[in-house]
């Protein structure tokens, strides 16, 4: 089920990125990071990195910063590894903590990208701070909400409601 989940997650990330891009949202969440984080939350580093690769490549294809294919792949693999390592060492249960972790991951991702561009192209192009913070915030918020939503026992609640209706 995992590959299907990843495929659906990446497809949705592409759709969401394109949709928000079409809407000219200034600081959309990093949906690809959310897919990687979803894979890394159990502490499995290799699957997280393996998801980070296509996720980053897709992001490169969509955004193509400087026409460098692999730039986001590099950062997503690294972020996937870091998130998986953290997930293996600590238990993050609260959605707020998950959101904070995701926001931090966005910052690491941006720092990695800036560093890579600087090394490869010789241009130091840091993102605008407020845009970066906004992106980190939206990603953390959206990721936290998704996490919180994923923790809700929807089935049990539906069953309970059905039972109440029947009685």
């Amino acid at each position: 089920m995992k590959p299907l989940r990843v495929a659906i997650g990446l497809s949705l990330a592409v759709l969401a990125t394109l949709a928000l891009g079409a809407l000219h949202v200034p600081a959309p969440p990093d949906f690809f990071l959310l897919v990687v984080a979803d894979m890394a939350k159990g502490g499995a580093a290799v699957p997280a990195m393996l998801v980070g690769l296509p996720a980053g490549l897709l992001e490169d294809t969509l955004l193509a910063p400087g026409h460098l294919l692999g730039l986001h792949a590099f950062s997503k693999i690294l972020v996937g590894y870091l998130l998986a390592t953290l997930g293996a060492r600590m238990v993050v249960e609260k959605p707020l903590a998950v959101g904070g972790l995701l926001a931090g991951a966005v910052l690491v991702d941006a720092a990695t990208l800036t560093f890579l561009v600087w090394v490869l192209k010789g241009d130091f192009l840091p993102p605008a701070p407020w845009l970066l913070l906004a992106r980190a915030a939206t990603t953390g918020l959206f990721g936290g909400l998704l996490y919180a939503a994923s923790r809700v026992p929807w089935k049990q609640r539906r069953e309970a409601r059905r039972r109440v209706r029947l009685t």
Binding site: M49, G70, F74, I77, L120, K121
Partner: protein
């Protein structure tokens, strides 16, 4: 705490591999201002030692090839130059010979500024003096106008006379020959002249006979041809008295140092033979003109 094994480090290794692959892929795309990608730059840096090695080997091979080619060319050139040097050396020798010949001719003409008609220059190409008969060979003969009994004269004095003629060669009897004789005039600055006969001794020398001991003779007295023998004209230098000895007879034993050495002469004059009328009148060479 035990160090993590390779299996336990698998995610880190995987991370390193994936990041390296990404980095390589990125570096292959980044184009520097010089037109090369970063990857190309890195690759060039990595392979530069090999490039240097190949360049050095190629340069070495090229140098060896150039050396071989230039060596071959140099050898060919050297051979050509050696041949040219030999040719020039030969030419130089010929020119030196010609220069010497010219000098000798000038000396000859200096000694005999106005030779009589029928006088020819000739090369003395061989001297035979090992036996009792002393002869020389000239490179001119009857075909060149030489006549039998022609008088052979070197720059220093009388050498002999022509005794045999070929079309292109002539055989000369030298004064030192055992059977050669010439009438001479023994001259001294204070005492005047005295007629005598000079003969070859067959050993390379010339002696004077029949000079009575009552006649004063001293070393360095000059001998010139008298012109009375019917073979040689008068006035030609024959030599100088080398030594004078008194023997048991009434005559001096006089050894003569010949004026002309056939071994040192290469060009001679051949004068026409003496006419009978010249003999009776006792004309000298100059007077015969």
């Amino acid at each position: 705490m035990a160090a993590p094994t390779l299996t336990e480090r698998r995610p880190e290794i995987f991370l390193a591999v994936l990041l390296s692959l990404c980095l390589v892929a990125l570096s292959l795309q980044v184009r520097r201002p010089n037109g090369r990608t970063v990857g190309e730059g890195w690759l060039l840096t990595a392979v530069s030692p090999f490039v240097d090695l190949v360049t050095a080997v190629r340069s070495g091979v090229h140098d060896v090839g150039t050396w071989a080619t230039s060596r071959r060319a140099l050898r060919v050139e050297n051979r050509a130059l050696s041949a040219e040097v030999e040719e020039l050396r030969g030419e130089l020798l010929r020119l030196r010979d010609a220069e010497k010949d010219k000098g000798r001719l000038l000396e000859l003409f200096g000694a005999l500024p106005s030779p009589p008609p029928g006088t020819f220059p000739a090369r003395l190409i061989a001297v035979e003096s090992s036996g009792p008969f002393h002869t020389a060979l000239l490179d001119r003969g009857a075909g060149d106008g030489l006549q039998l009994d022609g008088v052979v004269l070197a720059r220093a004095g009388l050498l002999g006379r022509v005794i045999a003629l070929g079309p292109r060669t002539a055989r000369v009897q030298l004064l030192s020959d055992n059977t050669a004789a010439v009438g001479v005039l023994l001259t001294h600055a204070s005492r005047g002249g005295r007629v005598a006969v000079a003969k070859g001794d067959g050993q390379g020398g010339v002696s004077v006979e029949y000079v009575p001991t009552i006649e004063p003779v001293e070393p360095n007295d000059v001998l010139v041809s008298s012109g009375t023998d019917g073979l040689y004209p008068g006035g030609l230098p024959v030599g100088r008295v080398a030594s004078v000895r008194r023997n048991k007879t009434l005559f001096w034993e006089i050894q003569v140092s010949a004026a002309a050495d056939p071994h040192r002469e290469s060009i001679v004059f051949v004068l026409p033979p003496v006419r009978k009328s010249d003999v009776t009148s006792g004309l000298s060479v100059m007077e015969r003109r």
